[in-house]
Every structure is written in C-alpha cells, then in structure tokens.
C-alpha cells in the first residue's frame, strides 16, 4: 500500500512533546503551530490530525487514523480496541489517591465507606479492587480537587505531574494507583495491512525515545 499513514496527535499538554518526538524521529516536521491554520496537516506522505486526547483512541479504533499518540491515562478509560505498541516515555504523570492534609487517611486510617471523586472511574475501580477496598466512586468531569473541601468526597483519585495542584488545594498523596506516559497506539487492521509503514513509524519513534533516554 503506497499511501502514507494518518496519525492522530493529542491536543493539550502532550502536543508539544508529541511534535518534538515526531521531529526527532524524522516522521514529520511539526510544531504545535503547524495546526494553527488547520487541524489536518499533510506532511510528506503522512497526514496528521490534531484531536482531543480522549478522542485519539476513537479515531484509531475506528480506522479514521492508522495510529495515534496518546497518554496512557486516556487508555485507562477508553473501551477502545487498539494495539499499544510503544511507551514513548514523555508526558509522565501519576494517578494518585489524595486526601485533605488533616485527614486521618494520611495516617493510614481510611473511613470504612470511602467516597472518592475521580475523572478516572475505570482506573479507580481497578485500583480499589486490587487493594481490596470497597470505595464509592463519584465520577466528575473536572476540578476534582474541590470535592474534599466541599464535602462531596473523602478523597480524590486524580493524575498529577508535579503535585502543584494538590498542594494548592491542601491535599496530600495517600497512595499511588498507576503511572502514565505517552503511548503509540495502532489500528488493528492498519497493523496488518500497512505493516511496513506502521513498523517504520514505531521503530523510528522507539529509536528517538532510546536516544533521548537510554535504558
């Protein structure tokens, strides 16, 4: 198959790192500004589309994009069936359980009917199942850190990169549930029908990642 790949890149915090990695890997000469004029950019043989991070797995599963770059945190919540081919090791963040500074939870004293607010109910369910805690989850769509201060929940399960937001809201980390970095995901059919092109992209990305952060 001669035509290039359609690659979905995430808008938001991962955009700059994604563009930088694609440049270093020699896949596309992109900067975040490349998308100022249009959300679909042709670059050599490939086409790149900038979409919301949560939509990257949708584009890739449905075959609208052959592959995509997306944070693992987006994959926790998506029910989408894609191949996860490589850890791109940037955009690192952690999923943590955090409670108010003065909460007894910091001392390991968890309320028996723990109420946890989160934007990540599936990841939260997996975490609490793993540690054997019966938590009541409250799904929120944003500003999760407000939930304990307003009495909506005892604690929150949210991602944090620097811990700044937690500190600003007088929350402390109680436990780490998971870690997230950017991943390369691929459509199940593209991996088979456009294997050469997909493998070239995956190999170039892996090499660029290794060069930056040798194991």
């Amino acid at each position: 198959m001669s035509r290039g790949l359609c690659i979905a890149v995430p808008n938001g915090v991962l955009l700059e790192g994604t563009c930088a990695l694609l440049r270093r890997a020699g896949i596309a000469g992109l900067t975040p500004q490349s998308f100022d004029a249009a959300l679909l950019v042709e670059d050599g043989a490939n086409r790149l589309v900038k979409v919301r991070p949560t939509d990257v797995p949708v584009y890739v599963e449905m075959g609208a994009a052959d592959c995509g770059i997306v944070g693992k945190d987006m994959l926790w919540e998506s029910h989408r069936d894609t191949y996860e081919l490589a850890d791109l090791r940037f955009g690192e963040c952690r999923l943590v359980l955090a409670a108010p500074e003065r909460s007894p939870m910091g001392m390991g004293d968890w309320p028996p009917a723990l109420r946890v607010a989160t934007k990540y109910p599936r990841a939260a369910r997996a975490f609490f199942d793993r540690i054997g805690v019966a938590a009541e989850l409250i799904k929120l769509h944003g500003s999760v850190e407000l939930a304990p201060a307003t009495g909506l929940a005892d604690a929150i399960l949210d991602i944090t990169a620097t811990g700044g937001t937690l500190r600003a809201n007088r929350l402390v980390e109680v436990a780490e549930a998971d870690r997230s970095t950017a991943r390369l995901i691929v459509n199940q059919a593209s991996l088979k029908t456009r294997f050469e092109a997909v493998n070239e992209v995956a190999t170039a990305l892996r090499r660029a990642v290794e060069e930056r952060a040798p194991v």
């Binding site: 449905m62 191949y83 991996l191």
Partner: protein
C-alpha cells in the same frame, strides 16, 4: 412550508434505539445481495444452511464467549425466571445444534448460517449494535485441510460479493502460549503476559517479561510479536534456537497450511502472522483474519476451536469462520462498488390500456425483469421506460431516443440485469429497437 414536527404531530413517536440502522431501499438490497453471494458460495462448497434462534439461554451463550464479551450481551429474564440473551455470535448456537440434534453426523459436518447478532455496545461509540453475520462451521475433523478449506471459502465468498484481493492473515493460537509454556515462568507471570498479549498491549508484555527468566529466543520472539509476519520464510527464522515443542508444532502446521492455501489459489494473498493475538480460551489451532485494506476492521475472522463442542457434551474438533456483512458493505462502499442500486423498469400506459400494461408488467417480472407499473394512465411524453399504447405496441425510451416497438420485440431483446448493476440505469445496455 410546514414545520416538519407539525407534519406527523409534535408528540408522535419517532425514536430509534442508538446503534441500530434502518436499511432503506438500495442499501438494503445491496446488503441482501452480499448475503446472497455468501450463501451461494457456501452452498456451492457443500455447506448446509442452518437457522438458529435469535435468543439463547445465557448458559448456552456463556459456553462460547469469554467473560468480557458476555458483558456486551442484551440480557433479559424469561417468564420462568431463567436468563436469556440475544445472541452475540452464532457459532455457539451451531455448536449446540450439532451437539444435540446432529450428534450422529455424518462427520465431517459442513454447516453455514446467516443472521443478525446483537451487541450491547456503549452508546455513541460509533459501533453498530445489530450486525449481520454469515459464517461456516466444519465440524468433526482435525485435518489441516479443513482449516485451509475454511480460509479459502471465506476469501472466495468475499470475492463473489465483489471484494476481490483481500489480505489473508494466518496465525496459530498455540504459538505464543506455546512459547510461554516452555519458558519456565510461573503461572501468574504466564497469565499476565497472555493477558497483556490479548489486550494487545506490547508495553505491558515488556513490563511483564522484564522480571522473568524467559529464555532469550522466546523472549525476543514474544517482544517482537507484532512484527512476526511475512511469508513461509519466517517460519524457519522463528524456529531457530526454539525448543518449545508446542510452538514448533504450530510453526509446522502453518507451513502445511501455507502450501494448502497455495493449492487453493490464494498464495499471493496470504501473510503468516505469528503474533496474531486471538481469544486463547476459544481458539485452539490455526486462526485467520481477512482484511480489505481500506477498512479499520477485519471483514472476517475464523479459526480452529476444538474444545467448544465438548462444552456441549460432544467432544469433537471443529473449525470455521464468520464474515461481518456490514463491514463488507462498508468496504464495498469505500471501493465505490455500492453505487449501483436496485433497478426497475417503469411501465406506463395511455388511457384505456391499463389491462395491457398489467399483462406486460407480469410478463416482464416472470422473465426476471423487475417492473413497476404506473397506477394511473400517463401522457404520451411521460417519463417511463415503457409506455403501452395498445394494439401490441409500446414506446421504449432507450438511450437513442423514443422508439415504438412491439411487445414481443421488447421482451426478446431486454436482458436480465439483476440487482445492483444498474442495467436499466444505463439504457444503452438494454436498448431495444436500434437497428
């Protein structure tokens, strides 16, 4: 202009459940034509048609599919309190039929089916919840030739429906688990690696293997799983330094299957894919997927499932496949092959000739030519294909203009078009009366 909502009444029910489709004339005809092409091909290969219920007991369905798929079933309660489900696939129903009513064979038994299946997929996900599936099951033989027949038949049926040149990826359900089996890892690690593989998560495979004593040959094969693909030559490459007997046997079978598929005439279309990741609870031997090259999903999937019938009390090997008819229609549309519609001749008549028009339409239909009759008398210049004027004469509106011909000439010169190829759309193809 009236507001649309006032036409049917503002409170009139007009909802349709999310994820379901109304197939309108044209699209519905094309969909049926694809199904007909599949069933005709299955029949030509000696597969007998079975029709099974849309509803099965949950216990029956559960014997076939894994836990994850069970959560995507529409389930409800019967009058006696037992749990029922709308079928999410039909192989399990065929297996139930074989294990009960057809248990005396004669084996090998060749069966095929066509019917809807339902999936309780999340709303707004872009996934269809009612799908039409056609498939074949070849039951009662462990022969590799049976697996080859299924692959070839699936590709042949797709070709008959207009989907030529599909890519066939053939793998083996024993290869990756066989590698792990001989790798001397504990059960928990093995489960973790297999779960990561079936989750198609190479990053998790790497993480799970990192802290294990998996041998180098096995480890490098496992970590390259998406890249283990190519022609017959990859089998030898993969077998090097490999001691895992189950994995080696899988490689040997794939080699034989490769040769058989060559004999079926599909040598150029087959890719061997050692990293094929399929449901290991279900598949026990060769597996395959068929791709169109312009669609993000496989058109068909299949493989050997030697343990399924045993769950219904008849321990016998089996292999088979399913074709996803809606995806096939999508692929045809992508290839621009779905533009032709159901075409039909329009028969009109001038005042007083209704009976002659009815008789002509009847003769056309009996000759295999779809005909639709104007219910009222037409003007001389009406936009119809055939205008009945009386005295055994009609006006045929061909590409070369309007021509008066006799009914007998018309019938002798029109050819049967059939569905989807637009014979009557391009009137030159069936032009009558041109000398």
């Amino acid at each position: 202009m009236q507001d649309a909502s006032t036409v049917a009444g503002a409170g009139a029910p007009r909802g349709r459940a999310g994820g379901f489709t109304d197939w309108l004339p044209g699209a519905a005809e094309r969909r049926r034509a694809v199904g007909d092409a599949f069933l005709d091909t299955f029949g030509a290969w000696g597969y007998g048609l079975v029709s099974t219920p849309l509803i099965e007991p949950v216990d029956t369905v559960a014997a076939g599919v894994g836990g994850a798929s069970q959560t995507r079933l529409f389930r409800f309660m019967d009058a006696d309190g037992s749990l029922l489900a709308l079928v999410g696939e039909r192989t399990v129903s065929v297996a139930r039929v074989v294990a009960t009513q057809l248990r005396d064979g004669p084996f090998p038994l060749r069966l095929c089916y066509l019917g809807p299946v339902l999936r309780n997929a999340a709303l707004l996900g872009g996934r269809r919840r009612e799908l039409l599936q056609a498939g074949c099951e070849l039951i009662g033989t462990p022969e590799l030739a049976a697996d080859a027949e299924c692959v070839a038949l699936a590709a042949e049926a797709l070709g008959r429906a207009g989907l030529d040149g599909v890519q066939i990826d053939v793998g083996h359900a024993d290869f990756l688990p066989g590698l792990l089996e001989s790798a001397e890892v504990d059960d928990a690690t093995r489960e973790r690696v297999l779960a990561a593989l079936s989750g198609r998560d190479l990053v998790a495979v790497e993480a799970a293997l990192a802290a294990t004593p998996v041998g180098n040959a096995e480890r490098s094969l496992l970590l390259r799983f998406p890249a283990l693909r190519g022609g017959r030559e990859i089998l030898e490459a993969a077998a090097q330094d490999l001691r895992a007997p189950r994995a080696l046997r899988a490689l040997e079978q794939l080699g034989d299957l490769w040769d058989l598929l060559g004999a079926h005439g599909f040598a150029g279309a087959v890719h061997l894919d050692l990293g094929a990741v399929r449901d290991w609870e279900y598949y026990t031997g060769p597996t395959f997927e068929l791709f169109s090259g312009d669609l993000g999903f496989p058109l068909g999937t299949g493989g050997r499932y030697d343990t399924l019938l045993g769950r219904f009390g008849l321990a016998t090997p089996a292999t088979g496949f399913v074709l996803h008819l809606d995806r096939c229609c999508d692929a045809l549309a992508r290839r621009g092959l779905a533009s032709g519609g159901f075409s039909v001749l329009v028969v009109g008549h001038v005042a007083g000739e209704a009976a002659a028009a009815i008789a002509l339409a009847t003769r056309l239909r009996r000759a295999g030519l779809p005909a639709r009759r104007e219910l009222r008398a037409c003007a001389e210049d009406a936009d119809v294909d055939v205008l009945v004027r009386g005295a055994g004469r009609v006006v045929w509106k061909g590409a070369g203009g309007r021509r008066e011909v006799s009914i007998d000439d018309l019938l002798s010169q029109l050819t049967v078009g059939g569905y989807g190829n637009g014979v009557f759309g391009t009137r030159d193809a069936a032009d009558v009366g041109a000398q």
